[in-house]
């Protein structure tokens, strides 16, 4: 397929595409975190889903379908010529769980954003990643007007293992979001080392 004129193009290295998931409850700051560290304005695509209504068994299957779209926002960080890191926020609506499955597949790890005004909204994310043995860190996103809880209080409420980092963050601040990601990847490396030597 190589032709004379295609040789004039410099051959670029094709990078490894890896991903980190940014999860958390509705409005916890997922999109904000992705935007603050991404090198590009977050990209967006959507997934279509057919939503079948309940109670149509008598009709012999799915009779009543509507199509719903799920927005998927993601950012990108070029690590080197060989590696590009993608950051995917989980869809805001909880019912789109199937997207979580695919997002988590092959991910390096996950950041779970905890909003202390409604900490319970991240419980399902904690459950989800624990069950899949996908390493995660908890980033406590401090909103104005929210009671300031200590790391220990959050850790206790979330009931996460002592090895899971719980860090304070401000998703709007690039450096803060970067620190969260650094914490996550360090944690992933520590977990791997523990697994290899244990």
């Amino acid at each position: 397929m190589a032709s004379a004129d295609s040789d004039t193009q410099p051959t670029e290295a094709i990078p490894h595409a890896v991903k980190i998931i940014v999860a958390g409850g509705f409005g916890a700051g997922k999109t904000t975190l992705v935007s603050s560290v991404s090198e590009i304005a977050p990209l967006s695509t959507e997934e279509l889903m057919t939503e079948a209504s309940y109670g149509v068994d008598d009709l012999g299957g799915i009779e009543d379908k509507t199509t719903t779209t799920v927005a998927l926002d993601f950012g990108r960080i070029t690590i080197s010529d060989d590696i590009v890191l993608y950051l995917f926020g989980t869809p805001g609506q909880d019912r789109f769980w199937f997207m979580w499955e695919e997002l988590a597949e092959g991910a390096l790890g996950s950041v779970i954003l905890a909003d202390t005004r409604r900490l319970d909204t991240c419980f399902h994310a904690v459950d989800f990643f624990e069950r899949r043995n996908l390493p995660f860190v908890v980033a406590v996103n401090r909103f104005e007007g929210a009671t300031a809880y200590s790391e220990e209080e959050v850790r206790e409420a979330l009931d996460v293992s002592a090895s899971v980092p719980v860090v304070m963050a401000d998703a709007r601040e690039r450096m803060s979001s970067k620190e969260v990601l650094v914490e996550l990847v360090s944690h992933v490396l520590r977990s791997r080392q523990a697994a290899l030597s244990g």
Binding site: I14, W97, D127, L158, V185
Partner: protein, 148 residues
């Protein structure tokens, strides 16, 4: 802090988990409620989606699968603008999810069309130029993030 997570594991607790039962493993019910058109119909979501072309041989692509155009857009595309657009955007290697964002089509649709285009040779899969192990990648990502 009133809520504590371990309560969520008590599946008999009234009213608990209404919003997110599936994460705790109750997948069956939900699968009846939400069907992904492209997964279900092997790439055909309806008349305005990929259409019934080239279903056989279409492969399921991951979001981060890398594809590259194997040729430039030609006369084959004159009635298939979405293919032409995909070919133009894939002149350099692209992940499927980025391609979807760039061509402004739903991910599932791009997956389906790209799968057909792989099957008919318009697109090619590509792997990373330099092989790297998982550890190498993690270390490099850590260094890269630290220097942001």
């Amino acid at each position: 802090m009133s809520a504590e997570r371990h309560r969520r594991h008590d599946r008999n607790e009234p009213g608990h988990d209404r919003e997110f039962p599936q994460i705790l493993g109750a997948h069956e019910d939900e699968e009846e409620r939400f069907l992904r058109p492209y997964a279900v119909d092997a790439g055909v979501a309806g008349p305005d989606a990929a259409g019934p072309r080239g279903r056989r041989g279409a492969e399921q692509l991951e979001m981060l699968s890398l594809v590259v155009a194997a040729r430039t857009p030609g006369r084959h595309e004159w009635l298939r603008p979405e293919r032409e657009t995909i070919l133009m955007h894939a002149q350099r290697a692209r992940t499927v999810v980025e391609l979807a964002a760039e061509v402004r089509l739903p991910l599932g649709q791009v997956r389906a069309i790209a799968g057909e285009m792989l099957a008919d040779g318009s697109l090619q899969h590509c792997g990373p130029t330099r092989p790297l192990g998982h550890s190498d990648i993690l270390h490099a990502v850590l260094v890269g993030l630290r220097s942001l």
